[in-house]
Amino acid sequence: MIRILNFVCVIVAGLSCLALYHVSERTRVARVELSHVHRQIAHERGLTAVLEAEWGRVAEPGRIQQLAQTRLGLEDATSVQLASFDMLPRRGEAAPLSTSPIRNASVVAPAAPRASVPTHIAQPQQARTYRIAAVRIGM
C-alpha cells in the first residue's frame, strides 16, 4: 500500500512538474507576446503622433486659405455678408424678395458623370438648379 502511495505521489509530482513547466512556458511566451504588443502599440502611437503632426501641418490655416483662394476662388467674407440666425425670417413670415436685403440666388449643381453610376441606380436627369436664399444685408 505504501509503495502504491509512493508511486502515486511520484507520478503526481512528475505531472505537477510537467504542468508547472507548461504553465511557465506559456507564461514566458505570453510575456514575449505582451512585450511585442507593447512595442507595437508604442510604434503605432509613434506613427499616430507623426500623422497628427502631419495633419496639423496640412490643415494649417494659411495653407487652407491659399488653397481656398487658388483652387476654389473663395474670398474672405466681409461683415455685411454675415448674418446670425435671429436675423433670418421665420418659416411662414413674409420675406419680400425684391425690396428687402433678402434676395434670391441660384447655384447650378453639375450632373454626376454617368459612367460611375451603377445601372440599377436611377440616372440623374440634368444639371439641377437649386434656389437658395442668400442674406445680403445693407446692400
Binding site: 505504501i2 509512493n6 505521489c9 509530482a13 505537477s16 508547472l20 510575456r31 505582451l34 512585450s35 507593447h38 512595442r39 502599440i41 508604442a42 502611437r45 509613434g46 503622433a49 507623426v50 497628427e52 503632426a53 502631419e54 495633419w55 496639423g56 501641418r57 494649417e60 490655416p61 494659411g62 486659405q65 474672405d76 466681409t78 461683415s79 455685411v80 454675415l82 448674418a83 446670425s84 436675423m87 436685403p101 444685408i137 445693407g138
Partner: protein, 532 residues
C-alpha cells in the same frame, strides 16, 4: 540474503518524503498566491515599457496641436568595426547628409563612438540600415515639431537639440511640459484661428506699408487669456535660422513710447478723479505752454475742444492739461495700480522693465499724459487697457487656458469704465479711429502715432503707430492692440499716421475674428458700407 531495514526506518523515510512533498507543494502554492493575488495586475518585469516622449504636447485652446516630440534617432558609429573607414564615411555622409570630411577625420581618430548625425528620420534610418555596416547604433529620442510653422513662433518658442526649452512657452512652461503624464498635454490660451488672422493681416500691413516690424495681441478682458500674439518679422521654428528672421517678441520683449493710445489712461484717470467733464471746453489751438516748453499738435486743431473731442481728435495739448489736473503723484500712483511701472509677469520668460522718469514733475506728467516719456511693453499696455474697459478690475495676462472670469481687484469704478467705453466708441464713430469701424460690430478704440526717439531726438518721419480696439464696446469681451513700426504711408507721412495704418489693420482683424469668437453682430444700417 540481504537484511531488510526495520519497519521504523521505512516509516521515517515516508515521513521525510511526505514532508518534502508538502514543502514543495506549499512553495508552489505560496508562489501562486504571490503571483495571482499579491502581485495581480502588475506588469511582468522584463516587458518593454512603452517609450514616452520627453516633453508634453502643446495645444491651442481648441485642442489644435502646436508642438510635439516626434520619434527620431541619433546615429552613432563604432569606427574600429569598419573594414573600410573611407567607404563607410562616404556612404554614411551620402545617406545622412553629414559632412564626409568630418566623418573621415572622426573615424580615423581614437574615439570609440562617433556621432554621425542627430535626429534622423525613420526613412533615413532605413537607408542607413540598408548599408549593412557593422558598428552602427541608434539612440532613440525626440525632435520637437511645430505643425503651425511660423504661426506663433515667438510665443511657442523652440527647444535645443537636447530637448530643453530655449525661448517662449517652451522655456516658460519647461517644468510643466516635462512633468506631464505620458500622453497628457498642456493647453494654451491661444486660438490658432485668431492667431493666423492676426498674423496674416499684420503681415499684409507690414508689407504694404514697407514697415520695419508689426505685431499685435488679442486679449480676453475678463479672463486675461491671450487669444493671439504676433510679432513680425518672425521665423520658422522647424527650419534653419536666416538673416531675415527675428526671435524677438516685440509684444513682451520691447518697450515703446506708445504715444496717443496712452490718452485712454489719462482720460480714465480724469474720469476716476472727476477732474473734468466730457463737455468742458479746453483751449487747444496755439499749443499748451508749460515752463519753457510748448506742447503742440501733430495736425491742425480748432482753438477750443470739448474734453470728449480732445480724445476723439487726439489733442496733445488738451490731454496734457487734463493730466496736470490730477498731478504727478496721482498719475504715478494711477499708472502703478494699472501695472505699468513694473515688468508684466506671464508664462513667457521674455519680459522687459518699463522705462519712466525718476524725477516725475509737471512736464513729465504732461508728456506721459499723451504717451511720451514712458516706455512700456505692448502686453503691459493691453493689460492696463483691459482694466479700463472690463469694469475696472485688474487682470493678469496668461497664456494658459483659463475660461473662468479671472478679474481681480477693483482698480477703477465701474462707472468710469462705462464712461470710457462710450468715449472709445465715440473715437471710432467721430474721431481718428473711423477707419477701424466694422459694420455690425460695435468697436471702440484709440489711435496712437508716436515719433520715435533716435539718439535723444524725436524724428518726425519715424513713427510707431498703434491702435487699441475693444469690442463689443457696450460690453467688451476682447481687446485688439496692433502696432506698426515705421510705416511708410506716403503723402508726406500723413497716411502713415495710425488712423490710416493701424486703425484699418485693427478693423480688418476684428472683421475676421469677431464671427469666429462668437461676438454678437448688430443689425447693419442699409447705408452702411462694407469694411474692406
Amino acid at each position: 540474503m540481504t537484511k531488510s531495514p526495520p519497519a521504523g526506518t521505512f516509516q521515517r523515510r515516508i515521513v521525510i518524503a511526505a514532508a518534502l512533498s508538502v514543502a514543495a507543494f506549499a512553495l508552489v502554492g505560496i508562489r501562486l498566491v504571490d503571483v495571482t493575488v499579491l502581485h495581480a495586475g502588475k506588469e511582468a518585469s522584463g516587458v518593454a515599457a512603452v517609450p514616452s516622449t520627453l516633453r508634453a504636447d502643446l495645444l491651442d485652446r481648441n485642442g489644435k496641436l502646436l508642438a510635439r516630440d516626434l520619434p527620431v534617432d541619433d546615429l552613432y558609429a563604432r569606427p574600429h568595426t569598419f573594414w573600410n573607414k573611407e567607404q563607410a564615411a562616404h556612404n554614411l555622409s551620402k545617406v545622412t547628409g553629414a559632412s564626409e570630411a568630418r566623418l573621415k577625420r572622426a573615424f580615423h581618430g581614437s574615439r570609440e563612438y562617433v556621432l554621425v548625425a542627430r535626429q534622423i528620420t525613420p526613412d533615413v534610418k532605413d537607408r542607413v540600415m540598408s548599408l549593412g555596416l557593422p558598428g552602427i547604433e541608434f539612440q532613440t529620442g525626440g525632435k520637437r515639431f511645430y505643425p503651425e510653422g511660423r504661426g506663433a513662433a515667438q510665443v511657442i518658442g523652440v527647444t535645443d537639440p537636447d530637448g530643453n526649452g530655449v525661448s517662449g512657452l517652451e522655456l516658460g512652461l519647461e517644468k510643466r511640459l516635462r512633468n506631464q503624464e505620458p500622453g497628457a498635454a498642456v493647453t494654451t490660451s491661444l486660438d490658432m484661428r485668431v492667431q493666423y488672422i492676426l498674423a496674416h493681416e499684420a503681415r499684409k500691413a507690414k508689407e504694404t506699408l514697407d514697415a520695419h516690424a508689426a505685431g499685435g495681441i488679442v486679449l480676453d478682458v475678463r479672463t486675461g487669456e491671450v487669444i493671439a500674439m504676433v510679432s513680425l518679422p518672425d521665423y520658422d521654428p522647424n527650419g534653419p535660422f536666416t538673416k531675415a528672421d527675428s526671435r524677438r517678441n516685440m509684444i513682451v520683449q520691447d518697450v515703446y513710447e506708445l504715444g496717443s493710445v496712452f490718452k485712454v489712461l489719462t482720460f480714465a484717470m480724469a474720469m476716476e478723479d472727476h477732474t473734468i467733464g466730457l463737455d468742458d471746453w479746453l483751449p487747444i489751438g496755439a499749443g499748451f505752454k508749460i515752463g519753457k516748453w510748448t506742447i503742440r499738435e501733430a495736425h491742425h486743431m480748432p482753438a477750443m475742444l470739448t474734453a470728449r473731442d480732445v480724445l476723439a481728435q487726439s489733442s496733445n495739448a488738451g490731454t496734457a492739461q487734463i493730466a496736470l489736473r490730477s498731478g504727478p503723484q496721482r498719475q504715478r500712483e494711477f499708472l502703478s495700480n494699472l501695472g505699468l511701472l513694473h515688468a508684466v509677469s506671464s508664462e513667457l520668460p521674455e519680459t522687459a522693465k518699463p522705462l519712466y522718469p525718476h524725477n516725475w514733475q509737471q512736464i513729465q506728467t504732461a508728456t506721459i499724459g499723451f504717451g511720451h516719456g514712458i516706455s512700456v511693453t505692448p502686453l503691459a499696455f493691453a493689460a492696463a487697457a483691459a482694466v479700463v474697459v472690463n469694469g475696472g478690475r485688474k487682470i493678469t495676462p496668461t497664456l494658459l487656458k483659463h475660461p473662468g472670469d479671472a478679474r481681480g481687484a477693483q482698480i477703477l469704478r465701474p462707472e468710469t469704465s462705462a464712461i470710457m467705453r462710450d468715449l472709445l466708441r465715440y473715437v471710432v464713430t467721430n474721431g481718428t479711429g473711423r477707419n477701424a469701424d466694422v459694420p455690425g460690430y460695435d468697436i471702440g478704440g484709440k489711435t496712437g502715432s508716436a515719433e520715435k526717439n533716435v539718439n535723444g531726438r524725436y524724428v518726425a518721419h519715424k513713427l510707431l503707430v498703434s491702435f487699441f480696439a475693444t469690442f463689443p464696446a457696450k460690453d467688451p469681451r476682447y481687446i485688439v492692440f496692433v502696432l506698426i513700426d515705421e510705416p511708410h504711408g506716403g503723402k508726406g507721412g500723413v497716411l502713415s499716421l495710425a488712423g490710416h495704418t493701424a486703425a484699418p489693420l485693427a478693423g480688418s482683424v476684428i472683421a475676421r475674428i469677431a464671427p469666429i469668437l462668437g461676438v454678437p453682430k448688430e443689425p447693419v444700417p442699409p447705408d452702411a458700407k462694407e469694411n474692406s
